[in-house]
Amino acid sequence: MRNIHLERLESEAIYIMRETAAQFERPCLMFSGGKDSLVMVHLARKAFWPAPIPFPLLHVDTGHNFPETLELRDRLVKEIGAKLIVRTVQESIDRGRVKEEKGPNASRNMLQITTLLDALKELKVDSAIGGARRDEEKARAKERFFSHRDRFGQWDPKNQRPELWHIFNGRRHAGEHFRIFPLSNWTELDIWEYILMQGIEIPSMYFSHEREMVDRDGVLLAKCDYISLLDGETWKRETIRFRTVGDMTCTGAIRSTAATLEEIIEEVASARVTERGARADDMRSEAAMEDRKKQGYF
């Protein structure tokens, strides 16, 4: 049976990528190493085939990455001949642009906004292609494909351009830029089904494995150098997998035995918690995502 809805979503995403390359001078593709950005790289390859991807991949590195994602990133970039640019939160800290959070729940998630905006400015990026999807979170349900940011990188939900039919308006003044979201209409399940259909390689921690974990307020965090235990906490060996691969300090795992794509799809289809639901950063307040977005978060 043909997956008509996946074909439509793929065609739409490719259309958006090409529209970006045509309307902008200096696009870049935001690359995190997660499954969504891997799907985006795949779509970008298809969009410009047989030419190489005509824009670089930009990785904002918090320094708290899962090692599996970096390994795959470097291998992929080499394989497809893409250009990769890495900017690190550590550099921003060293240059005094930001201050490291303190305490047991310290995270570099907020800090990466500054690193990102600095990098976009430095590289004169006028269109940053991101993998955000409207189904992820309420504030994103109104996001545009071509999302306008003012000169401070801020998103003003009241000042977004209407998007009609398949006509996208990427006109901008000097200093302004756009975030482009080719996967806007995809759901988590679509991503997984597409990964399966296209045979896209993803980092191993998406699949079920055993790992040392700590349960902190209901969020399962992986053992790493950046997390220290609080009173009463212990590392425990668990059978888990990750549904997203952000910063290790705030990306929660789920207990799961899904070890293949088919099993993951089965699990996602019947899941009771959205994938962002396992992220500690979203749970801080009801409007957490909207606040971060306004400041320039993806």
């Binding site: 809805h5 090409r18 030419a51 349900a141 009241k158 398949h166 918690v273």
Partner: protein, 627 residues
Amino acid sequence: MDLLRFTTAGSVDDGKSTLIGRLLYDSRSIHQDQYEAIERASAVQGNGAINLALLTDGLRAEREQGITIDVAYRYFSTPQRKFIIADTPGHIQYTRNMVTGASTAELAIILIDARNGVLQQSRRHGFIASLLQMPHILVAINKMDLVGYSEEVYREIVADYREFVQRVDIDDVVFIPISALEGDNVVEQSGRMDWYRGPTILHHLETVKVGEGRNVVDFRFPVQYVIRPNQNFRGYAGQVVSGSIAPGEDIVVLPSGQESRVHSIVRMEDDIQRARAGDSVVITVEDDIDIGRGDMIVRRRNQPQITRSIDADICWMSEQPMKTNRRWILQHATRSVQAVVGNVIYRMNVDTLHRETADTFGLNDIGRIEFELADPLFVDAYRVNRETGSFILIDPDTNNTVAAGMIRGAAQHVPPVGRVTTMERPVSPGVVWDDLYIPREERERQQGHQAAVIWMTGLSGSGKSTIARALEKRLFKHGARTMSIDGDQVRHGLCGDLSFSEADRTENSRRVSEAARLFFEQGSITICALVSPYRQDRAYPRHIIPEERFFEVHVDCDLEICKDRDPKGLYRKALDHEILDFTGISAPYEPPENPELLLQTHVLSVEECVDQIVAMLVTHGIMQDID
């Protein structure tokens, strides 16, 4: 699994968000954490029960004000289908948002509160859906629980709305009585409305035919991007927006007109044998010709209109009113051109469906404009092809998108409502007008009188046909070559495919005008008896017939007398709502401002009227005095 995009429209209190929440909740598309977040928020707002509406009211400002202020997209799927909902707010001031949501949707759900019945904005939503050529409309009559699940209330609303729907251009409309709050007929069949045997909302969404809005006939390929990795490969990337293409087929590139043949359709995995509407592909052609972004690849025998002016319906979307004296950027498919307003034809009063004189448009106004373009566009009418019939206007100073446009065709210089000026006629592309083999002048010499067109306009029952018949008889008796075209007769054949909507009336009168012109050229004194209620429609024949040969005759009669005469029983039917869009009752009549002749038939007899017309023809040298 296929995909249905639909949009929802309703006012704040119609329960739209609750309906969407209910669809998501009952189809098990809400995750546990989302549910818990709503529980928390519901507790804060202190309204007791779980508030399903909170699921869709996205931004904090909205949650605080309790209203939705922009288009929000929602996703859910069932084993049959994946759904994308464009959730648009329904207040009057947010026409803009509904237009946006509807532009990519195939179905619109219009919510009506059973307690309030059909409101102004329910009509507004229906009108926008018809303007955007939505293939399917689902009218959800909500809050049936608050009217005791009454069949009578439901029937009344259905009858009311049906009457409205017939006045606008909507093909498929389905009515479903529901209670979003209680879940009746949303996902599960209601046990409290035995009198309703139709589908539930979800069942209808799952089974309605998708893809009907897509044009699969006319191949159009706007070039998005040129792919040239090396000297040996040159491909044109884009989306097939309509029709289909295969390797080996002949193509022509617009605007250059260069012809070639498709060599291959390239994909990363493998080459494609046929690319269809909706596919993003790369096309290579056999000849080395110059093609760039903004060009359009089409078939030689099936081309869009190539035009430097367009006639379009627009929805103004900016807080800044439209200024007619400045330049805009018009973005159409992958092409952008500069545009100036040539002519504001009218603004539509969306509530009364009347066309009003206008100089400018403000936020949420809808109307009709002609634009002059600095460079040609390749367009199809929006009703035939959504993708090549749509455009946006951009303000070059702010870069904001200020209007959405739906193309009717190349501009015909339609005179603005309330101000008749000159106009030109449409011509099929690539056709040359050959003069008749026997010129009209020679025919006129032989027959001893000149050709003319007498256009009789007036209310039904005013006496047009009666006068026309008597006039023709008189002229024929005196050896004149005559022809009469009667409004009722053409509706049987020539215009049998047209309705009485505003657009179709215009087309009706255009066809009659053109037919009259052919008889005119053949030498006849051609008598047209047609209600022809709109000034601009009557301006059309005036413009295609030479001056001094066209006579507009206003057959004027008091409406009450027409109703009284009612020769065909039409007024009675119109007053009983059996006929809709009936001029004088439920549709407007714009009397001529300067007719060549005014006949007041409640004062004059038929013979007196004929005398006056003959006298007019004699005075203007069309014929000799026949007495």
